[in-house]
């Protein structure tokens, strides 16, 4: 029997609310199949299977909020015999676990530490029908469930022999997680994460002014003939430059977990994206080190749209290894960002502005951006930080190599 536990779909996630099951008892499951959709404080995310098997039972009801690590479902491995159903075996959950986002977000940062949470799913009082068979759902309940968008699989039935009735469906619909105030939840999450970072992470800051004449000229050339919707933005060059620099300076890319730095081979580049209702998310462009500028641009546009629509995928929210924040659209010269722990560095870019610049002994007008690195002093020092920042600047002088 394989236990499918609620994964931490991001470093700051301690609980999730099941929105819907995408599988039913008896369904075959392959690695990578979407099992369920779970709501977090950030977005509705897909939960994928890491195993091959067949669904034995579903143990969490839609609408239920459970801690990370809760067994959500059980799969039978290939060839595994179905166990004899035990009367009173837990099939469907009891009332959801209450818990505000602020409280949960204040729990330890790491995903690993959150996994130990015990299941709080209560056992149903009535024996469930043999999993794998069709659940006894009345015809009327089935139709009403479709109308209300209620998933039947984990619904407890109150009719004779546990049949699910219309009333059960309507009650489940009424008890569905009330419309969440996502922006206030995000606000609380940001508050908790940033407070923790400022309290626990010894930041140091380095700034540099980076001339962008070459980068801007290259962009103008690259965008000639491109439709407006496909035009490259300077942000794509920043991301690409940071990704390349991070490969050269591994102490900037990874996580500080359980008292130790764990560098990451992949550069999953978080990009701070502001939300229309306030707040921000920093989903990742995975493997930014192996993408072209055009691919980065495309991924960025896609990510911005889906972040604001609340339809991020799990791997995008899960564990960026390094984050970039670009406030260039605002008229700020520089930003001293706060590290998104357990990451160990963040690079902020300000407005690109024409400034007097000394070139070959002459003052010229130069487009310049001020880049600022905030890095975790437990992992790196000012010296390595400075070299990292310099590498970013150097890459931006050779946009054609990015």
């Amino acid at each position: 029997m394989i236990e499918v536990k609620l994964p931490a779909l991001g470093a700051d996630m301690d609980e999730g609310t099941l929105l819907e099951w995408r599988v039913h008892p008896g369904d075959p499951v392959h690695k990578g199949d979407i099992l369920a959709v779970v709501d977090t404080t950030k977005a509705a995310l897909d939960v994928e299977s890491w195993h091959e098997g067949r669904v034995w039972d579903l143990r969490v009801e839609p609408g239920q909020t459970v801690p990370v690590g809760t067994v959500m479902a059980r799969l039978l491995e290939a060839g595994e015999a179905a166990p004899t159903p035990v009367a009173g075996a837990p099939m469907t959950g009891g009332p959801g676990v209450a818990g505000g986002a602020a409280v949960t977000a204040a729990a330890p940062v790491t995903a690993a530490s959150a996994v130990a949470a015990t299941s709080t799913v209560a056992a149903a009082t009535e024996a469930a029908p043999a999993p794998g068979g069709r659940r006894p759902v009345s015809p009327a309940a089935r139709r009403r469930a479709a109308e209300l968008g209620v998933t039947l699989d984990a619904l407890a039935g109150s009719g004779p022999h546990g049949v699910v009735t219309v009333q059960d469906v309507e009650q489940a619909a009424a008890h569905k997680a009330p419309a969440r105030d996502r922006s206030s939840e995000i606000r609380r999450t940001i508050a908790a994460v940033m407070t923790r970072s400022k309290r626990e992470v010894p930041h140091y800051y380095l700034s540099d002014d980076i001339p962008l004449a070459a980068a801007m000229a290259w962009l103008r050339m690259a965008n000639t003939g491109r439709p407006i919707t496909e035009r490259l933005l300077i942000a794509a060059l920043y991301l690409r430059a940071v990704a390349k620099a991070a490969q050269q300076h591994p102490t900037m890319n990874g996580h500080f977990v359980d008292g130790a730095f764990r560098p990451s081979a992949a550069v999953n580049l978080g990009m701070a994206i502001s939300l229309r209702g306030g707040g921000l998310l920093a989903p990742a462009i995975s493997h930014a080190e192996s993408r072209t500028v055009a691919e980065i641009m495309q991924a960025l546009a896609d990510l911005v749209a889906r972040t604001r629509a609340g339809t991020l995928r799990r791997e995008e929210v899960a564990d960026p290894t390094l984050t970039v924040t670009n406030l260039g659209e605002q008229s700020v010269r520089s930003v001293q960002p706060i590290i998104y722990a357990p990451q160990v560095a963040i690079v902020g870019f300000g407005l690109v502005s024409d400034r007097p610049w000394v070139l070959d002994g002459k003052v010229v007008v130069m487009p310049v951006v001020t880049a600022t690195l905030a890095a975790d002093h437990r992992v790196s020092d000012g010296h390595s930080g400075a070299r990292f920042l310099a590498a970013i600047g150097a890459h931006l002088q050779r946009p054609e190599t990015l």
Partner: protein, 328 residues
């Protein structure tokens, strides 16, 4: 007339009114004259209307039902009483092959404005040859209208519109209802197309007719003490069946139980159940149930006879079984 009347009185008043209103109307059957009818429905009518219009017949259902058909074809409005539904089997040929078929076989040239009344059902210790319920057999036949008055109002009001129907009408009077008494109420004619809601309820629908109506209502009262509000539908008209009233009720309560005195296999309850499944499947929260008579010839012994019939406890138990534990 006293403040209360019996079902028997209501039937007699309906006969008297019909005889008075239309000189073409006459009554014939076994013992309807001097004896006053085997259930005393026609008591006193011979004296009032004379032997031309209140006619005793020989013990020959095939013969006198056939004579009734002839009289109807000849322009009269005969009311033929058959002592009990068991004996009506002797007249099935006349009723099914002639009365019900003639309009169709003649291309609409002939119709048979015949009314046949008969007693049906058990409960009076009359044993297996006088106690069965074959209403469903007649309701099977196109060309017949089949009525089952279960209330004083219907006993009083169904006869006149039945006589006005240009085609044959069968009226089933349940033997246990003759002594039912109550306020006479409105003596006017009643509708012959619709079922009636005898009791409103939200939790399940009990569908019945005729002699089972009183005990179905009693079962609904018993269920009410447990917090289960049963709706009771009195079908009244078995053919043509009023599907709409049934489906509207089931769509609200989502559960249906048919209560029928007749045997379960191939019974009229099966027909109603099938229609619910055809028309209201997606409204249901539970399988349709039937509470029917036991599949034995109705016994003579009182306890055995009662045990063979749907009882209040059986109806209540079936209802409980459909409700489940109910969400709080």
């Amino acid at each position: 007339m006293s403040a209360t009347v019996t079902y028997r009185d209501a039937l007699r008043e309906a006969l008297r009114e019909a005889m008075q209103r239309d000189p073409r109307v006459f009554l014939m059957g076994e013992d309807v004259g001097s004896y006053g009818g085997s259930y005393a429905v026609s008591k006193g009518l011979l004296e009032e209307f004379g032997p031309q219009r209140i006619r005793d017949t020989p013990l020959s259902e095939l013969g006198f039902v056939g004579a009734g058909i002839g009289a109807a074809l000849g322009g009269l409005r005969p009311i033929v009483e058959i002592m009990t539904v068991n004996f009506s089997l002797l007249a099935l040929d006349q009723l099914v092959n002639t009365a019900a078929a003639l309009r169709h076989m003649s291309g609409g040239q002939f119709h048979v404005p015949l009314v046949v009344r008969m007693a049906t059902g058990a409960g009076r210790q009359l044993a297996a040859q006088h106690s069965h319920s074959f209403e469903g057999w007649f309701a099977h036949v196109p060309g017949l209208r089949v009525l089952a008055p279960a209330t004083l109002r219907d006993a009083r009001g169904m006869l006149w519109p039945a006589l006005e129907d240009p085609d044959p009408v069968i009226i089933f009077e349940h033997a246990q209802l003759y002594n039912l008494s109550g306020s006479p109420g409105d003596p006017g004619p009643v509708d012959l197309t619709q079922a009636s809601t005898a009791r409103a309820g939200r939790d399940l629908t009990l569908i019945t007719y005729g002699g089972m109506l009183p005990r179905t209502l009693a079962a609904a009262e018993a269920l009410a003490t447990e917090g289960i509000e049963a709706e009771v539908i009195d079908l009244r008209v078995l053919r043509p069946l009023d599907d709409a009233t049934i489906m509207h009720s089931v769509a609200r309560t989502r559960r249906a139980i048919l209560v029928e005195e007749a045997w379960r296999s191939g019974g009229f309850a099966a027909e109603v159940s099938a229609r619910i499944l055809e028309q209201a499947f997606y409204e249901l929260d539970a399988p349709v149930q039937r509470v029917c008579g036991e599949e034995v010839p109705i016994p003579y012994a009182r306890q055995l006879e009662e045990a063979a019939l749907p009882s209040v406890p059986r109806i209540v138990a079936a209802a409980r079984g459909l409700i489940g534990k109910r969400p709080a």
